[in-house]
Symmetry: C2
Subunit: 110 residues, 2 copies
DNA sequence: TTTATATATTGCAATATTACGATTAATAAT
DNA sequence: ATTATTAATCGTAATATTGCAATATATAAA
């Protein structure tokens, strides 16, 4: 094993898990935070910002992109990255629904 | 390697990464969704709900608990679990701040 | 064309994660 | 006391992830 089972779960659950998984790493969180502040950046900016090798950061950027969290546009010899606001709003919404569902309900056991 | 570097990132970033990482698995997402709907449950309920062995689910519950996402209370021979609303609100808040920061800003490149 | 610059990809070695059967622990029921 | 019942833990095999040096690729500058 070591394989994550996805059979038996709804597509929505599997998709959400992919997004959260991509966010679940300090380097990738740091990249997102950086993009929130800077709105956009090239890979090299992040290499200068984080204590990781260029190859490692390139890999993390690819994972964020695959998960749909960031978008990248080629600009000459660099690549400009920015956040996918739609996706962020989507998970923000999801969390909102969770809270709404939970507030106004007394938990009996915890 | 295979080790996640946490040195060089802020505590807040590392903490958020821990929470998102815990959410980044279909089984754990399914557990959270179930708890949103049911408000509370015992381990056995989830074992009946998900296509995974009891040992596996117990493990996932522990990870969610370690990350602070759920709380558990012993009730006789079972354990009653429920969501930690405070933590959920906290990350909801964080995502809200991200969106606020990003809206009203035109991205130049993507 | 050659050289510099920026990013992606490849190929590892080390470590982490996942899933599950088997076992244990701890309470409840008989 | 014995036996269910419930959940946690252990051990382990298979697979995934992480980080980086080295290399490749692709555009820009000289």
């Amino acid at each position: 094993m070591g394989v994550t089972k996805t059979f038996g779960f709804s597509d929505e659950i599997n998709d959400m898990a992919i997004v959260f998984k991509a966010l679940g790493h300090p380097a990738r969180m740091a990249i997102v935070e950086y993009l929130v502040k800077q709105k956009e950046c090239v890979c090299g900016d992040i290499v200068n910002e984080l204590p990781l090798a260029q190859a490692t950061i390139s890999q993390h950027l690819r994972e964020l992109k695959t998960a749909g969290i960031i978008k990248g546009t080629i600009e000459g010899t660099s690549v400009c990255y920015c956040l996918n606001l739609d996706l962020l709003k989507h998970i923000e919404n999801k969390l909102n629904l969770w809270s709404l569902d939970l507030t106004n309900e007394e938990n009996k056991c915890c």
